[in-house]
């Protein structure tokens, strides 16, 4: 996510939009949107079996490429993207899109390089992979807690903040009521449906996001006067009130360049190539939210197809968010690009700058709501029971209201809510996966599948409460740099984890001690820089820069590069100095060993290693084989579920049975064993690809990469 030019909007202060801004048609559009999403969620509940670990957390590994691809896109693009990318475009030009296009390359890397390893290892969560690869418990727990921390304190908070800004700006609703209602609706299908519901609804929400955002893009281009008008107008988008002695308020010279000066600019090009790639690799290749979606795919080809779809979709944020943000600056320079702290405080409550309101401003000003200022007439009439709006008469001095009215603003509301909800549900589900599979199973190693399912669902509800608790924090952050700090948390904590995953996957010699000390020292150094950043906040535009040299002159992208190198040196050094990893820690857990045959005995030993007694080992091995067969049989048919639910009805009250079905859990079987390990199929067979389709997918990869290289070269 791009770090914008530090603005926070206190949601309690509404900048001059006193009238209720949604009319009936907008409300209707919103209601239709919610019903659509709920319908998709409920349908997906029918479709998949969600009472097993695989079924709930990995959608039964049965997803085809299009839900995988759209879910990757929707989980990534949250409301923070709309606000952040548009705001960065308004404030600093197109450089922020480097994050998006870097992400394109990384998601392809995931599909082709990392995913075969994860599939071969048969894991559900990323900490689990580290545990298998390095052994021991400390890295797994460390990473699990770190991930949960990052999710709760960076991802959830940023999306809640951006969503709250938008809801307050546009809807003027009570923020608590709005958020609680939204979260309850989405929690309904997330808790009951698991990953399958989340992915299918993400697909629907991607469609809505694309339709809405692309139409707003069309409107904004029409308004500003076309492509050339954008290119030329941006340089002159200067607010009328500014300090003439400084450059505050003046748009950057290199606004339309991606690769900027290595020393003096806000995003130096070596930093973009190196310093951005490593955290980006963490996000796309070793973050639970993203990898879990790819793991849910039917087979490797579908996962690659999903990666390709997501990569193609990642081209769009440039056109949907960055350029409209720049257009917003051209159209409303005094508000979006305010240069004077007093003006800024008046406009959006933050003296640093108001670029964050760029997108919201476009939605509110460009899209007519049906309530127009006095002096403008809008006519329409009912034609066969449909309201047909006609042209609004142009009022002098205001932008032309376009012909279509009403409903569009509702659509944009739906878009923002879709972005917010899709990201939040994905984060909820993945956090729940990590908590259940890594932390809970560590505390209670013999937990039955039933218990894990229950815990998984409960944790989602806990996260809903946590999300609501972020709202008072958001409201209290007036004028503060809180959310910039929060974003910097991820920038400084991601590189060490990324390097550990990289060395773990692609170098057979990495061992547990190397990984642990690399992680520890890397996070320590990152934490030190983070503390320095908090103590010496970056100065406002017109203030003098009095920070210590190490903070002032070392750009955070360069620091990220240095941190990665440091972690790499520590990992390599300590690994070479200590003993080699054991063969079962390498077999089918690295790139070079992903085709290794699975040894049944070592597999069974590893999965029951938490269960201490030797007799139980044999028993559960047999039980596993039985359960595995039962799982296979159960996994397919709807009929099986009906039969089992019918059986449960006979022995329990109907209400309980209905509740169980709704929650997607089957009646607790007597003598439930520990959940069987993920099917240890021969990795070679699970990594097998139909050669013809493999050809097609690889060719598509070359095309996608060429397009990415072209657009990066075009805007360089």
């Amino acid at each position: 996510m791009a770090t914008t030019q530090g603005t926070t909007v206190p949601p309690s202060q509404s900048p001059g939009l006193g009238v209720p801004t949604l009319v009936t048609i907008d409300i209707v559009v919103l209601v239709v949107y919610f019903l659509l999403v709920l319908a998709v969620g409920l349908w997906s509940m029918w479709k998949t079996k969600r009472s097993t670990v695989d079924g709930y957390f990995l959608a039964g590994k049965s997803m085809s490429w299009w839900p995988v691809g759209t879910s990757l896109f929707a989980s990534n693009v949250g409301s923070g993207h709309f606000m952040g990318l548009a705001g960065s475009g308004a404030a600093a030009g197109i450089s922020a899109v480097a994050y998006e296009w870097n992400g394109m390359l990384m998601v392809l890397l995931l599909g082709w390089l990392f995913l075969p390893i994860y599939i071969a290892s048969g894991v559900t969560t990323m900490p689990e992979y580290l545990q298998k690869r390095f052994g021991g418990k400390r890295i797994q727990l460390f990473i699990a807690i770190l991930y949960l921390f990052i999710y709760i304190f960076t991802k959830i908070s940023v999306d809640m903040y951006a969503g709250a800004v938008f809801i307050q700006q546009a809807l003027q609703w009570n923020i608590y009521v709005a958020v609680v209602v939204l979260l309850l609706i989405t929690a309904l299908y997330t808790v009951t449906g698991g990953l399958a519901a989340v992915m299918y609804t993400d697909a629907a929400q991607t469609g809505i996001m694309l339709i809405g955002a692309l139409s707003l893009m069309g409107f904004s281009f029409t308004e500003v006067g076309g492509w050339n008008a954008l290119l030329e107008g941006y340089a002159t988008a200067i607010p009328s009130v500014r300090d003439p002695n400084t450059t505050c308020g003046i748009p950057r010279d290199d606004a339309f360049h991606l690769f900027r000066d290595p020393v003096t600019s806000d995003l130096p090009w070596p930093g973009i190539l190196l310093g951005m790639s490593i955290p980006s690799m963490w996000y796309w290749c070793s973050d639970q939210v993203i990898v879990q979606r790819s793991l849910a795919a039917k087979n490797l080809l579908h996962a690659k197809g999903g990666s390709l779809l997501a990569a193609y979709l990642k081209i769009l944020p440039f056109f949907m968010m960055v350029l409209p943000g720049m257009i917003s600056r051209i159209l409303y320079p005094d508000e979006v690009a305010c240069g004077d702290p007093e003006v800024c405080t008046e406009v959006c409550g933050n003296p640093v700058g108001c670029s964050d309101i760029a997108y919201a401003k476009l939605v509110m000003k460009l899209l007519p709501s049906g309530r127009l200022p006095r002096g403008v007439v809008i006519e329409g009439r009912y034609v066969r029971r449909r309201w047909v709006p006609l042209l609004a008469i142009r009022e002098l001095g205001t932008p032309t209201q376009t012909a279509l009215s009403g409903g569009l603003r509702g659509l944009m509301m739906a878009v923002m809510i879709a972005a917010l909800m899709s990201s939040l549900t994905s984060i909820f589900n993945s956090s729940s996966t990590i908590f259940t599979m890594d932390l809970w199973r560590h505390v209670r190693p013999r937990a039955t599948e039933w218990e894990l399912m229950l815990v998984g669902r409960m944790f989602v509800l806990v996260l809903v409460v946590v999300s609501v608790l972020w709202i008072p924090v958001v409201q209290a952050s007036q004028g503060g740099q809180l959310f910039i700090y929060i974003q910097s948390i991820s920038t400084y904590l991601q590189p060490p984890v990324s390097i550990v995953f990289l060395t773990g996957c692609f170098w057979k010699r990495t061992n547990e001690k190397g990984a642990f000390w690399g992680l520890f020292l890397g996070l320590l150094v990152g934490g030190v820089r983070m503390a320095l950043d908090f103590t010496y906040p970056s100065p406002l535009c017109y203030q003098e820069d009095s920070r210590p040299d190490v903070v002032k002159h070392v750009h955070y992208l360069y620091f990220s590069t240095v941190l990665s190198l440091l972690t790499l040196v520590v990992v390599v050094g300590v690994s070479l100095a200590t003993e080699k990893p054991r063969p079962e820690q390498i077999s089918h857990l690295t790139w070079f060993t992903r085709f290794d045959k699975v040894e049944k005995s070592s597999g069974a030993l590893e999965t029951v290693e938490t269960v201490t007694s030797a007799t139980e080992t044999e028993e559960s091995a047999e039980q596993e084989i039985e359960d595995r067969e039962q799982e296979k049989a159960n996994g397919e048919t709807h009929l099986q579920r009906k039969v089992s639910s019918e059986a449960s009805v006979r022995s329990q009250s109907r209400l309980k049975a209905a509740l169980y079905w709704l929650c997607g859990m089957e009646r607790q079987k007597e003598g439930d064993s520990a959940p069987q390990p993920p099917l240890l199929l021969d990795p070679a067979s699970s990594l097998e690809e139909d050669p013809c389709l493999s050809h097609v997918v690889d060719a598509n990869l070359i095309i996608c990469l060429s397009i990415a290289v072209f657009i990066i070269g075009y805007w360089a």
């Binding site: 290199d254 290289v709 072209f710 070269g713």
Partner: protein, 113 residues
């Protein structure tokens, strides 16, 4: 040679036109041209890597039955079954020196039907 000179002169003219603009970061080449050049370089690199991979895989298959030919990021991945079938078709005269009956039989065994 004349064409090259013309090309260079044309480029210099564009340079001259572009540098006449004051206050903007100079673009020495039009944007679409930098894009095309970048794509060209990229495809060339892919081509080179593909050739290297084919040459390397050919050598290593003589020793081992299973060829874990792995190319680096973004290049077409070759697989055992598909690789052998493709190569039996594609191996023309240029690689004929390496082909022998032993290799043929190895390929037959490795092909998973």
């Amino acid at each position: 040679m004349g064409r090259a000179t013309t090309g260079i002169l044309w480029l210099m003219l564009t340079l001259g036109v572009v540098t006449a603009q004051i206050g903007k970061v100079d673009r020495t080449l039009p944007q679409w041209l930098t894009g095309i050049i970048a794509v060209g370089v990229f495809l060339f690199l892919i081509f080179v890597a593909f050739l290297v991979n084919k040459a390397w895989c050919q050598d290593s298959r003589l020793e081992t039955k299973e060829c874990e030919c792995v190319e680096t990021t973004g290049y077409a991945k070759t697989r055992d079954n598909y690789n052998t079938s493709l190569d039996t078709v594609m191996n023309g005269d240029d690689e004929g020196a390496y082909e022998n009956m032993a290799l043929e039989s190895v390929e037959d065994k490795a092909t998973a039907m």
